[in-house]
Symmetry: D2
Subunit: 341 residues, 4 copies
Amino acid sequence: MIVIMKADVKMNEVSAVIARIEDAGFRVHLSEGEERTIVGVIGNGRPLDRGQMERMSGVERCITILKPFKLANREFKPSGTTFPIKDNLIGGNEIVIMAGPCSVESREQIIETAIACKEAGAHILRGGAFKPRSSPYSFQGLGEEGLEYLAAAREATGMPIVTEVMEPSLVSLVSQYADVLQIGARNMQNYALLHAVGKSHHPVLLKRGMSNTMEEWLMSAEYILNHGNTRVMLCERGIRTFERYTRNTFDINAIPVMKEMSHLPVIADPSHATGKWEYVSAAAKAAVAAGADGLIIEVHPRPEEALSDGVQSLKPARFVTLVEQLKMVAQAVGRSIPQPT
Amino acid sequence: MIVIMKADVKMNEVSAVIARIEDAGFRVHLSEGEERTIVGVIGNGRPLDRGQMERMSGVERCITILKPFKLANREFKPSGTTFPIKDNLIGGNEIVIMAGPCSVESREQIIETAIACKEAGAHILRGGAFKPRSSPYSFQGLGEEGLEYLAAAREATGMPIVTEVMEPSLVSLVSQYADVLQIGARNMQNYALLHAVGKSHHPVLLKRGMSNTMEEWLMSAEYILNHGNTRVMLCERGIRTFERYTRNTFDINAIPVMKEMSHLPVIADPSHATGKWEYVSAAAKAAVAAGADGLIIEVHPRPEEALSDGVQSLKPARFVTLVEQLKMVAQAVGRSIPQPT
Amino acid sequence: MIVIMKADVKMNEVSAVIARIEDAGFRVHLSEGEERTIVGVIGNGRPLDRGQMERMSGVERCITILKPFKLANREFKPSGTTFPIKDNLIGGNEIVIMAGPCSVESREQIIETAIACKEAGAHILRGGAFKPRSSPYSFQGLGEEGLEYLAAAREATGMPIVTEVMEPSLVSLVSQYADVLQIGARNMQNYALLHAVGKSHHPVLLKRGMSNTMEEWLMSAEYILNHGNTRVMLCERGIRTFERYTRNTFDINAIPVMKEMSHLPVIADPSHATGKWEYVSAAAKAAVAAGADGLIIEVHPRPEEALSDGVQSLKPARFVTLVEQLKMVAQAVGRSIPQPT
Amino acid sequence: MIVIMKADVKMNEVSAVIARIEDAGFRVHLSEGEERTIVGVIGNGRPLDRGQMERMSGVERCITILKPFKLANREFKPSGTTFPIKDNLIGGNEIVIMAGPCSVESREQIIETAIACKEAGAHILRGGAFKPRSSPYSFQGLGEEGLEYLAAAREATGMPIVTEVMEPSLVSLVSQYADVLQIGARNMQNYALLHAVGKSHHPVLLKRGMSNTMEEWLMSAEYILNHGNTRVMLCERGIRTFERYTRNTFDINAIPVMKEMSHLPVIADPSHATGKWEYVSAAAKAAVAAGADGLIIEVHPRPEEALSDGVQSLKPARFVTLVEQLKMVAQAVGRSIPQPT
């Protein structure tokens, strides 16, 4: 940390800052410039509290030098993290495709969709059993019944399942059915939930909150990693901006930035990132071109009857075409999309 | 709802839309303009799903006419909601002040602060026992021990307590100690938690999420109200923008807008809304001038030692001055800040 | 400036950075921490280019210590700037009120409005002759004819005039009529225009761009001040966010922040900052409570016929009431709103 | 337009709205629902002023049905616009690459860079002679001297030139040198400038303002098109959000949205959209995958000495590699990047 003192700082204020740093077990590196005195903090240990330092008399502001995330930092683990979800290696050269409806609506619907997705080339089945909805009057998901239908679809197709868990007390239940636990955007900073999925040691798909910085996103990953659960995927799903022609703004920059900053695999969700099926294909291809390790795409056999997010769901026929195009884009950037097993 | 058809819509597409609306038990009002055909939906009932309608062939977009919140809507309850927290009437002509440290740090700290706040003129004591922190390495609060200290401070001063609850399974515990349950900004759309505090029938302070629209905020209130828990306060605490000189951008507009749209009391949090103690007083006075029904302000006897948010905490002496100024501003807008009982 | 080197920096990379700093005439302060090497730049002179330094091999990032604005900085001019606009002192203890229609529409309209505004207690007349409109099909203002009508209204009431200038080649013309030149939000970074109004030595009302940081705003003021034109007012008029119930988000924080960072007077525009007349009064009172030196408010005798911005314009009767309320709020914060002369 | 009346609207208020619509030469379509009365406006003509209607007594809000842009709307010109810049067809199946330094710094620098860019496969040379800089103390460009050096580089390589024009009075001068006039992000709503480049009938590259919606962007294009200048390219260069790891957030969604809404060619600027050279390649490939008709990329032979934007400039060697990769991505999406002539 670097402590920048005010222009009119007094000697005793600088002394107090130095004393505090030294009391905390660090060494001090003092630099008296012509316009500002700067106090550098040297040493390795539990970081000083930035807020406390900034509240000391004579301090203008503090600057932290190191990134606040450690376990998620590529600096401390230069090679990328890879792990299998059934037969699919996540984070390797091959790109994985997750697809399925926003919500599980019935046994028939999810099995029909799963079969169509697998035939099109998807590797993992998505589908929500517990749904976060901004209105209490909207469809809230089938709950455990939905989990059972997902399991039936897995049995029918062999596809592993990713589904959202919304509260700590349900992590155990959802883990019995799901191959991957999804943390939704609204819950990215639901710390009780992060602790719970960390402890579960189940693979996690961590969606970025709709107005969270990439740094906060990695800090949320840190909560999970800190429990020794290293199977974490970061999922960019669009952020909230002033733009109104799309539901969210797909932060495509996040893909190369996260690949540089962190060793964790990065998945893109072009369905939420655009919010309109017309733009999903373009966004999906862009994500692969930018270096995403996987995609999660909403597919529904009859979007006009979907109980949620129909407007951003692809029909199976279009999804088939998209997967073919994605294979070509993947190849163009030196990667591949394997046939599902 | 109004359904706007595409410029090149076909007859059978319009017919399908009409059939669907009528099947759902509504009447149709067709308007064929020179450039667009518009289908109006008439009738009162469970709303049609906008996403489904927009996914129908030939539909350009749908517009909902009514606000999606009902129980929170002033249209359905023209007079403002008022309720007492101990001796303090919330939502009336008198303005209530909540004050205290960000975190409960020790028995002595919270009692000392409570006494100072009450002497300055505060009515309700705030203090966090469970703390949402973006880093897993930061102080996470004293937990139940913190709740006990809060209770001790209440006993010492007579001040009722507002404190945050972060997960559904702790609502029961926190309710045993707290007079008001606070839902933090990060949890504004933690629906399991909203259900839990709704069912608790305890008064709730619902903070606005840092990038949530006012409409989403009222929809979250709706989750709580829908359980018959009508003692809900809305708390504006700043939103996230591109600006970097302040921690958040205080959306002062939200005060008059919420007072017009909803009957719920509106509280302002100038501490989080600015993030720097230097600006808290100006923001607090602005909030009262704009019509807030109350304030929640961070006060700490030694901010430079605070375990969280010291940089935005006022010292008691400054808080004393602020309350005096607030009384004058309140009077200027026809309201008052009573002496604590 | 402080240069933070990468974790794996090589000796020769550090040497190159040092050499470059010394070549530019600065001294170097080297600090080798346990995890990062940091190079401090000491000395006073033309600042090093941050981008160039960051592009050097082995550099992680650079941090600038001093604020980039000088002439606008309160550090270099601790007392506030004050100057008269006719009989009104800007930046002093008295608060000035500017009011009038969005656009000048006719001689009768502007004179009628000016008289009503003055009677209500306004000091300066606003009105647009050249209008920036997002659509080329909208009313673009009366141009020079509008300036003449403004001059007629000044003659009729004695009120000085503030009006917008949109292009450098018109600064001379507009200066012949206007007492204050307004730079609109869309032109905050129209540097040719900033140079032109700087050279004009006419008083300037500089609106904040709708998505500009406060720092950029002060840098734009710096362009004007740099020509020796010190009569600059900063005008906060709301910023663009994700919120949709209001036209803009009034950044009330900007008032105390600008008063602390800069010596320039700060004016608030509650009309644009809210975009709906229903919320203008609350926002105006908040601005005064937060420390604004003045207000600029849209008033129109018949808003439902206004050629622009009718939806955010107050009718004269409401404006009369508002001024009375503002006087009380001003008094509550130790200031006053004088009677117009 | 649709006018939604308030819940408690009175008969005479509805009558007044109807009278006003009919007075303006439109027909009325009245729909009395159970909770709201809605007045539809039918007919083709100069649109009613939304603000005026919303200010009428009893009106809750108005909704415009048609997009406000006409000449830029694909609805009115279904086939895409194409036009040549020298030998390069813009908007066709082939993708065009513009490259060069942020600023023209010297004759040698621009010629050296132009040769390197052309060898790498770029078609058009970019370079700023007039530079918009947020600080008056930063390098402001070489002005006309820079234009002369650009002309020399064109002579040396045969590459046409795109360069920024910042004020109306310079459009004539810049047009003498430039093949394409660039309107920078800060000037997207500088209407005097838009009029001037419209009248010039020179090809225009219109950058999106950093916080402008896509609709506003098309309205600015409309200003240019309205002068009969149809050779307009839209350039997405990133928008401003809360994210701090990148300079801007590349709104990749804008590419498919603009291609659907408008017939104008869409160019992407991955240099500004990311702000760091490390991420430029990923963003450029994403843009091509998403359907961009061209790219504009900053290239500098010695970025660590660049007088502006060095941190986001590619070195020629990396640019060579990027163009090879882009050709493969283009092919994957059914397009191609031709060899420069």
